[in-house]
Symmetry: D3
Subunit: 233 residues, 6 copies
Amino acid sequence: MRIADMNWMQVEQAIARDGRAVVPVGSTEQHGYLSLAVDAILAERVACEAAEPLGVPVFPVLAYGITPYFRRYPGTVSLRLDTYQRLVADILDSLAGAGFARILFVNGHGGNIPGGSILQEWMNGHPGVTVKWHNWWNAPRTAAAVQAIDPEGSHASWMENFPWTRLPGVEVPDGRKPMIDVARMRLMDAAAVRAYLGDGNFGGAYRKPDAQMMEMWRVGVEETRDALEGPWA
Amino acid sequence: MRIADMNWMQVEQAIARDGRAVVPVGSTEQHGYLSLAVDAILAERVACEAAEPLGVPVFPVLAYGITPYFRRYPGTVSLRLDTYQRLVADILDSLAGAGFARILFVNGHGGNIPGGSILQEWMNGHPGVTVKWHNWWNAPRTAAAVQAIDPEGSHASWMENFPWTRLPGVEVPDGRKPMIDVARMRLMDAAAVRAYLGDGNFGGAYRKPDAQMMEMWRVGVEETRDALEGPWA
Amino acid sequence: MRIADMNWMQVEQAIARDGRAVVPVGSTEQHGYLSLAVDAILAERVACEAAEPLGVPVFPVLAYGITPYFRRYPGTVSLRLDTYQRLVADILDSLAGAGFARILFVNGHGGNIPGGSILQEWMNGHPGVTVKWHNWWNAPRTAAAVQAIDPEGSHASWMENFPWTRLPGVEVPDGRKPMIDVARMRLMDAAAVRAYLGDGNFGGAYRKPDAQMMEMWRVGVEETRDALEGPWA
Amino acid sequence: MRIADMNWMQVEQAIARDGRAVVPVGSTEQHGYLSLAVDAILAERVACEAAEPLGVPVFPVLAYGITPYFRRYPGTVSLRLDTYQRLVADILDSLAGAGFARILFVNGHGGNIPGGSILQEWMNGHPGVTVKWHNWWNAPRTAAAVQAIDPEGSHASWMENFPWTRLPGVEVPDGRKPMIDVARMRLMDAAAVRAYLGDGNFGGAYRKPDAQMMEMWRVGVEETRDALEGPWA
Amino acid sequence: MRIADMNWMQVEQAIARDGRAVVPVGSTEQHGYLSLAVDAILAERVACEAAEPLGVPVFPVLAYGITPYFRRYPGTVSLRLDTYQRLVADILDSLAGAGFARILFVNGHGGNIPGGSILQEWMNGHPGVTVKWHNWWNAPRTAAAVQAIDPEGSHASWMENFPWTRLPGVEVPDGRKPMIDVARMRLMDAAAVRAYLGDGNFGGAYRKPDAQMMEMWRVGVEETRDALEGPWA
Amino acid sequence: MRIADMNWMQVEQAIARDGRAVVPVGSTEQHGYLSLAVDAILAERVACEAAEPLGVPVFPVLAYGITPYFRRYPGTVSLRLDTYQRLVADILDSLAGAGFARILFVNGHGGNIPGGSILQEWMNGHPGVTVKWHNWWNAPRTAAAVQAIDPEGSHASWMENFPWTRLPGVEVPDGRKPMIDVARMRLMDAAAVRAYLGDGNFGGAYRKPDAQMMEMWRVGVEETRDALEGPWA
């Protein structure tokens, strides 16, 4: 249930029933021909679909993430790692203060992962509150579902091209793009990254039939729901 | 135009035509019987409607703001002032780096105002980029439109009760609540604030006819659009 | 009573009698033809005169504030917002640690206001201590007293021209300066601000007869004293 | 060549010949029956052996890392993520200022990985300097060499038990420990981690014959040397 | 010349003639029977008397310093070291931006000395601006003048008892206090420090004849003036 | 006993016997013809020799310190003061958390001294833990031993030229270098410092017979051991 669809009295009741909460986190950054909001859209949607049957509140997606390598692609916003960690800690402080005891971050962007590394530091100072970080797109079963469709899937390729992330009136190329070398890209500054990546796709086909996309999505939702079910240590 | 409905190539073209951008900022906090996301919903919506005819990109709303006084109302998230300023600065750095030269923050929450106070500090370090902070709900004409409907309007009262912020199945009280004393509330910690405010409304009627709400909204959208039109110093 | 006129034994006795304290905060910044220390002089003086009959200790004025827009006027010192908030928090930590339970900041500079916005965050962490922020010059009765003299009064104009802020041997202009547009000024960096403001006065006459100034001052002192008397929530 | 075995004139000559440098980073933390300095010892040693034939300077190991989960094991030191990132940035600023243009971090501790995530942010501000982060123990060929010996190897097990990390007079257990569940451990605070892990080994045998250890080491040194050789984007 | 006695036009002229400025820094902290403002009073006064014949502007004293050991003495305010360094850097940024090229900090409190240690870091980033830190009371000639009067002089003893730091109506004890052991005090927290120090004097006589005080003062002023004269590297 | 030669069980036993620990801190910076690691080598070695007979654990040396003035000498690494203080605080938090109650920093570099100034602030927040900062090379008896050999000894001169800090194959000059003026150097930025210092020695002879060095060393070890013995307030 989305926090935006609740008032505080309803949240208070939800906590009394069940101390779980979900915080989806995304990024606003280049995704080739796709929406700049892909990571936020997917993280929030997978979180909501996963939490719905459990009645667990889903907080508004944090739409901005850590993505310094894409700073030369207009429309991208990159938060400093330091800023991001403070954000995550502030959000946790508020949720723990409200009585949430089991908090799941549903992350849609690889660059945010170091932000999740403050969780253990934070938990040391907040006994009784457990926080879990879930990278929905590369959790084991979801990653396997992607591989089953096509071993070559990547940032801004078909694997992020859903009915809710593609743009009306924007055609994606037909063919496949050769896979880029991520290890090499890690050595580049943002200007070199843009020169290297061109349209922004990291490689692979630009689209797959929706039936395949829906199957992958179903696995992603279920695996995220399972993360919410437990174990909680 | 929402950034979520654009890809980076489209943003690059938009910047080439017009260096303006809008960043709506809200809060996730108690709003009495209304949605916890009132401030984010209104800021993003007023920003989008204002920007639409001008073709100016609107970034995703920053859903979290500064609201320490409401921390005892479950569902509220409060960022530290320090965190918030870093966020604002990081967003500006990215937008300026992309070539945006006239950036409008459309703010929906009073507690965020100190965050806006870093803009002049930031502009000193970024000549050629102008940033404007617009509190949409208390800009002169919008505030006058509120007064014209009822001089008693406040946080979580009728003036925030729109078709898009009220919750299905939740009835708001019929009567009027006496106005609270905001100066006294400023002296309270979060526990005392909750004891003082009760349901969270700061006073006044809980709802008005939609025709009146739509008229107020129209003024708010136009005044926000005017802020986007200029002057830009 | 000024802290500078007390030793620690006397402060300990004062706290045992009455847990109140005053911290005046000002700025060192251009004030046109007037002293660069106007805001510090006025804040400290109004605080001392207000506190005197109550026997409440007044801490030394914090002479430096937040004033990025005036950085191109020599003699101006601007603290970063972040620095200022840490300062305010550190001062509060020391005062609360000593047993002060009701602390009044008497502020003489508009730019410092965001610094005051950390007070509620701070109070959440310090139950039992109440902190109040008082902008002496624009408190309701003082602002009305200014308006009664001349509706056009502003930064560095007559309303800051007291016997204790004007400089010996420096003549101020005779006439009136047209009011500047503060909203436009907020969009300028420090270089543009100086080009726009010229001598630094924001508009209005440069001086008024001392009898009028004394009357306004009396109101300012009384209203500050009333803030110190209560309510304290 | 170790910086400790050089003076500044020699470093100046080294930079003139070749702009590469190595910075080993480790951790001081529980390693079961083994030395608390395992990660620092291995990172520094593998770095020195890798760099020796290339004549590239190796800076002193940063002996302290990020390890909040082990804080209940005496002798462990954990730096905050924020502190760690500042450290890495300061070291890079000094090295870049001296003229090093290709800098390799050789990391010996998984918990430090988020510290490496500031590298791209840092490179954006320092064009012309390339920084690479190398986790020596889980680089592909080294990880394969570990697997070839025994698929069950982990923190504080045989795979960290070298002649230079075991302690004289300390016997390690003979048998195998069942593998712990790292995903579950991520949900625990430091007290729960200690209760869960017991002696600190994450699972597997406690020792292997030195011949096997030397073979694995040889691969680790070569793969680290290859990282230093290139590519550098 | 005090900045408080100047307007910005006069400071601009002063910079055109001579790029020097003085910033006195003190502390608000227990000084036994003497004023809590001793360190601020003395630093500002010695700075003003030293600068007067040279026509160099003296900024308002920074009345708050670093004094964690005295936090249990009411009336004491201690800034965190981190806060203090930011303060010093912000002040320097403003002064350098205004064109001051030779800036003298005149310090009246030992605890502030680490704050001065950021000067070299700051100068590396601001070529052409030289900053000097002067501890007026223990500069060589002033320290010798103190020794010549009585080798036992200390914090809050006779050596800080001037006509402008003693309090009307407060008698100081007649005798001598045994010297405290500063090295031991450094190992104590604030509660232990208060228990150890009692009245706050670090040892020695509580007062000396004014003729001796004036002679010491004269040396302090001259030595501070000499620091302002040069060398400036 | 070096922490590197212990496992966590052994440290736990050591704490049960005796709550003391030693943390040596050095610097990586130019030392003329000598090793860039002089300060780290000496601090760690003097700490280990001092602690050995007492059975007190010695943590790994912090090899990086605060040395902005030497940043133009290649091989030097300077941490920001702010970074350094966080480091010291993090290390203390871990050691106190493990049960160490008497912690001795053995410092080998003058530039680190301001880092030690956070100790009292830290102790205020950690009652029951005492932290002592020991500058081994200028403690009274060691400084006297230096003076007894030659009153002219300085950074990078004979007084740092030990068998374990000199470099094989590097000849030091025969003569004496005139003493530099440290007060003047404090006014220089890093580029000017290098121009002024040349080879990096601050003045005096470049070497002394080893018998003299060993005698000085013996005093340094004993005085460091005495600091570890007490008093602890």
